[in-house]
């Protein structure tokens, strides 16, 4: 081993991609938050200055992780997980409420969001659990244990009133799929989402009628008639789902969530209210054109026309100042990162490392996809950051830890027997 037995051989592609993304992200935050060009970089009263400090500490974390023995992570997976669950409970009791979510610990002027760190702990625990020799998805036991591992932190975060962060745990479905969970679950998930949307748009009666008609159509083909039992069950379940959507949408969802979905689906126009963020974000991105207005020339993003500019809507800065080209580079970087993680995951000798790798990819993918989708009007506004880009110490550190544990596992993959 060329770089010493302690560090192993960390994948330079991932590390370079990481550095590029963090640097690109910081440039965007600088443009979004600096009052003028050439503002002093280490101004700690400004977001870009603080972010520079967070980045510095992230690099320290990354290096530290590379120094730790890779066995440490698999050995203490459940310990991490258990500790994070306790912390999530603690934050519900002692936490501080920011923007409606009780998900912060305040230490003097410094605030930490423990929910961010629960992701890698959950990924570790899930990997640990699934890599055990005696589990398989044919066992019912496995299914509900997995559900508990994933569902417990998600539920606690939901209790903090941070819906976006809770939804991230849905990403683990991809991990389960890779490890053998039936594809039908993903397909039926997509179908349910589709039914959800058309039910909100067209109403439960029309959709039910449509489903009946579709079933009748299927029965026209002789070879499907034999399976009438299962088809009928699907039909009944679907109609039941459609009717429950109505109740869920109007009774379970918070009013602001309901409006966001309605605006997204074009059922409501509210450019100054619920639709304001997305509308402004679309104008900022749309006005960027092919190569953008130029660094520091984003007249909308620099002049506070887009809310949450340096955090959840950081993509607008790239869209406006760097245009389509800049967005292409950003999306390309993320796709490269995700595919590289999968590629590395697949070459792991240990199931634990592979499953953890997929966990990392799934979480990053979910953040990336939902964050960008909401800024361009593809998804309702869900407050989750763009990994490595958005301003914020907690999320940057958590993503760094998440990624570098995997890099560390990969670096020592040959030591695993």
């Amino acid at each position: 081993m060329s770089r010493g037995s302690v560090i192993g051989k960390p994948d330079w592609v991932l590390m370079v991609l990481y550095l590029i993304l963090v640097f690109y992200g910081w440039l965007s935050i600088y443009s979004a938050s600096a009052p003028e060009q050439y503002a002093p970089l280490l101004d700690m009263s400004q977001r870009y200055g603080k972010q520079l400090m967070w980045i510095g500490f992230s690099l320290f974390l990354a290096f530290s992780i590379l120094l730790i023995d890779s066995k440490f992570f698999s050995t203490f997976s459940y310990a991490f997980y258990g500790f994070m669950i306790l912390v999530l409970i603690a934050v519900l009791i002692f936490g501080k409420t920011v923007a409606g979510s009780k998900s912060w610990f305040q230490f003097g002027s410094f605030a930490l969001q423990p929910g961010e760190f629960a992701k890698f702990a959950t990924a570790l625990a899930l990997a640990k659990f699934l890599s055990a020799r005696n589990v398989g998805f044919h066992q019912f036991q496995t299914k509900w244990k997995v559900l508990v591992i994933i569902g417990l932190p998600a539920a606690l975060i939901l209790l903090q009133n941070d819906t976006g962060s809770a939804l991230v745990y849905l990403a683990f479905i991809l991990v389960l799929f890779r490890e053998g969970l039936s594809g039908l679950i993903i397909v039926s998930g997509v179908v349910m989402a589709f039914l959800f949307i058309i039910t909100i748009i067209f109403g439960e009666f029309y959709v039910s009628a449509g489903l009946l008609a579709l079933t009748a159509l299927i029965f026209l083909f002789k070879r499907f008639r034999k399976q009438w039992k299962s088809i009928s069950i699907v039909l009944v379940l679907s109609v039941a789902f459609v009717f429950s959507v109505h109740t869920a949408f109007h009774k379970v969802l918070e009013p602001h969530q309901r409006v966001r979905i309605q605006v997204l689906l074009g059922l409501k126009k509210d450019p100054l209210g619920a639709g304001y963020n997305v509308n402004q974000a679309k104008i900022a991105i749309g006005s960027g054109g092919f190569n953008g207005k130029g660094y520091f020339d984003g007249m909308l993003t620099r002049n506070h026309f887009v809310p949450e500019q340096s955090t959840d809507f950081i993509f607008c800065t790239i869209g406006e100042e760097r245009g389509f080209l800049g967005a292409l580079v950003l999306i390309g970087l993320f796709v490269a990162l995700l595919l590289r993680i999968i590629q590395l995951a697949e070459r792991q000798r240990s199931d634990f490392s592979r499953i953890y790798g997929y966990g990392v990819a799934s979480i990053l993918f979910f953040h990336f996809a939902v964050n960008i989708a909401m800024t361009i009007g593809f998804a309702p506004v869900v407050g989750i950051p763009l990994p490595f880009f958005s301003y914020g110490g907690s999320s940057l550190w958590a993503f760094t830890i998440l990624l570098f544990i995997f890099i560390k596992l990969d670096a020592n993959r040959l030591n695993v027997l």
């Binding site: 053998g180 991105i285 999306i331 595919l339 592979r354 593809f378």
Partner: protein, 606 residues
């Protein structure tokens, strides 16, 4: 766990990643490159064009004293689309307006355009804008536009300077320079030199933030243009003399025009009744304008250039010079006069008879000039009276009568010298010297303006030529003025000895014991003048006097008309003489005379 049985699924998962990324790129492609509406919207919400209004050129008098300057005022502008969530009650309180007025103005602005700025409240002073200016960020959609208003340090020369007002619809249509709410010269010098005074507008594109606060210039001002201030004008007016003349004319109707004979520069142009030019500035403008418009004494009229009067006896000098030139009389020709019994024109009084030209002018003998005019029109050189009349007519026109000067004098009228054609039409071709005899003494169909009369005084002072009366001395840093403002116009009579005779007669008017202006003789200054008393069908006679001084090296030529004042000697002559004394000495010694004139009220005392 159970091996790596599902490793093929990595392609599905990778495929999902790539698919989503592609979906984003397609969406971004349409958002950023196909759909142009976002670029437009972005500009609309984040950029604002600020028009930079140039300062209008200032106007100075001949001694570089300020006649007109600018004062900054602020128009409160509104872009209705950007107005949202404002505390209307607070807004109204700060601006001291009613909620009804607020609504009215907002409706009007919206009616014009939701996206373009409208004037919400006009011409606020610095003091009025103060309280709201500090918290403008609370009222998105509103901003202040700086404008300039004219101010006049002295309340004089209203008519010749003219005034500035908001552009009319037809102005807007004629010249794309203007946009609604701009100001334009409406009359006088302000109108004549509008293009020079207005300067060039600039525009600045600024970025605003979400609170409508200006954040800086767009792209470092790449698309900005700078405003160029209007040119300053220097006029020939002497501010002191102008103010003095207006004082003399107070409570009288009429006008004074004073020229520098050598250059044709107008030293003073007084019309009375007049008004304070500051009345036609700012918000009270339209109210004051209407009041002045309906004033029975017509203070808006510039009598000095638009008022036409028969010249009366002052015209006798023109007739004398033409007769001398045509050699139908000599300075020594004798005519008799029977005073008021004279036929066909009665003389105003009994005096020595027979008499020669010089005495005839000094005494303003009507008979003498009837007989002279009779000879001019029956000059045997010409085949008939009509041809002789044409000859007289042509010569009269060279004295500046019957036509405009076409300089920067605003609202000039041409006056009227009746033509052969006119008389042919009036008398069906059958007319002779007797028919048009009134012309011999400057009465009848002949009409002249006070400027033309002052110009006649200048011709006498110059002994045979004039420069068209005008105001402009210098524009900006450039003191070259149009060539026609320096062009010398020689009149039809050039023989110096003829002028000597006529001018010595004009001196007699002051110097002789019987001179009509003998009471206004000064020891220090030699004056030459001529009275005129013009019959007026509407009331008392108009009093006219023209004069120049000093006789040998004339510095000033004056014409004075006081309407319905009676004899020329009573009002017009002393006013002309006081103007001369003021201009030449800078200090009037004849305080008693000055007091009588200033206190004289010919309007209200009737």
């Amino acid at each position: 766990m159970y091996n790596n049985n599902f490793s093929k699924r990595k392609y599905i998962i990778g495929g999902i990643f790539v698919l989503i990324a592609l979906a984003f790129l397609v969406r971004l492609f349409f958002l950023q490159m196909v759909d142009n509406q976002y670029k437009m919207t972005a500009r609309n919400i984040a950029l604002r064009t600020v028009v930079e209004y140039p300062a209008r050129g200032r106007i100075y008098d001949r001694n570089h004293k300020l006649l007109v300057y600018n004062d900054a005022v602020y128009d409160l502008m509104v872009i209705p689309k950007q107005v949202k969530d404002i505390d209307t009650a607070k807004f109204c309180r700060l601006l001291d307006i009613t909620p009804e007025f607020f609504k009215e103005q907002m409706d009007a602005a919206r009616h014009y355009s939701s996206y373009r700025p409208s004037v919400f409240l006009k011409q606020l002073s610095k003091k009025e804008k103060g309280p709201i200016d500090e918290i403008m960020y609370e009222f998105p959609g509103f901003y202040f536009q700086t404008r300039t208003l004219r101010h006049y340090p002295q309340p004089i020369a209203a008519h010749l300077l003219g005034n500035v007002g908001e552009v009319s619809v037809s102005d807007l249509r004629k010249d794309p320079f203007y946009s609604a709410g701009d100001y334009i010269g409406k009359s006088g010098i302000e109108k004549y030199y509008e293009k020079e005074l207005r300067g060039k507008k600039g525009s600045r594109i600024v970025e605003v933030d979400v609170h409508n606060r200006v954040r800086g210039s767009f792209q470092d001002g790449k698309f900005d243009t700078i405003s160029v201030p209007g040119k300053d004008l220097t006029l020939s007016i002497d501010e002191v003399l102008q103010a003095f003349g207006e004082k003399l004319m107070q409570n009288k109707m009429g006008s004074i025009v004073a020229l520098q004979p050598e250059t044709g520069e107008i030293l003073a142009m007084v019309t009375s009744p007049t008004y304070d030019p500051n009345l036609l500035v700012g918000r009270p403008r339209s109210e004051n304008y209407n009041r002045l418009l309906h004033d029975p004494y017509k203070p808006l009229m510039n009598r000095a250039v638009s008022g036409t009067y028969p010249p009366g006896s002052t015209f006798k000098m023109v007739n004398a010079l033409i007769a001398l030139q045509d050699k139908v009389i000599t300075p020594y020709t004798w005519f008799t006069c029977q005073g008021p019994d004279s036929k066909p024109i009665a003389c105003s009084h009994y005096h020595v008879s027979p008499l020669q030209l010089k005495t005839a002018i000094a005494l303003s003998c009507n008979s003498y000039f009837w007989k002279t005019f009779d000879r001019v029109l029956n000059d045997p050189v010409f085949p008939n009276t009509h041809v002789a009349y044409q000859n007289w007519y042509d010569k009269v026109l060279t004295f500046g009568f019957g036509h405009k000067f076409h300089t920067d004098i605003p609202f000039e009228v041409s006056g009227s010298i009746p033509t052969v054609k006119y008389y042919n039409k009036l008398y069906r071709g059958s007319w002779n010297a007797l028919t048009v005899r009134s012309l011999s003494i400057g009465q009848g169909e002949i009409l002249v303006t006070p400027v033309q009369l002052a110009n006649l005084a200048a011709i006498m002072a110059n002994r045979g030529y004039y420069i068209s009366p005008h105001f402009l001395i210098a524009m900006g840093k450039n003191d070259t003025i149009p060539a026609r403002y320096t062009e010398r116009h020689d009149v039809a009579v050039q023989n110096p000895s003829y002028y000597k005779t006529v001018i010595s007669a004009m001196e007699e008017v002051f110097d002789s014991d019987e001179g009509t202006a003998r009471f206004y003789k000064m020891d220090s200054i030699t004056q030459a003048g001529k009275t005129g008393t013009v019959q007026n069908p509407h009331g008392k006679d108009h009093s006219i006097f023209i004069a120049f001084a000093p006789v040998d090296h004339p510095k000033i030529a004056v014409a004075v008309i006081v309407e319905n004042a009676g004899f020329g000697a009573e009002w017009a002559a002393p006013i002309a003489s006081l103007m001369i004394e003021e201009y030449l000495t800078g200090k009037v010694k004849r305080q008693k005379l000055l007091e009588r004139i200033e206190k004289g009220d010919l309007i209200h005392d009737k």
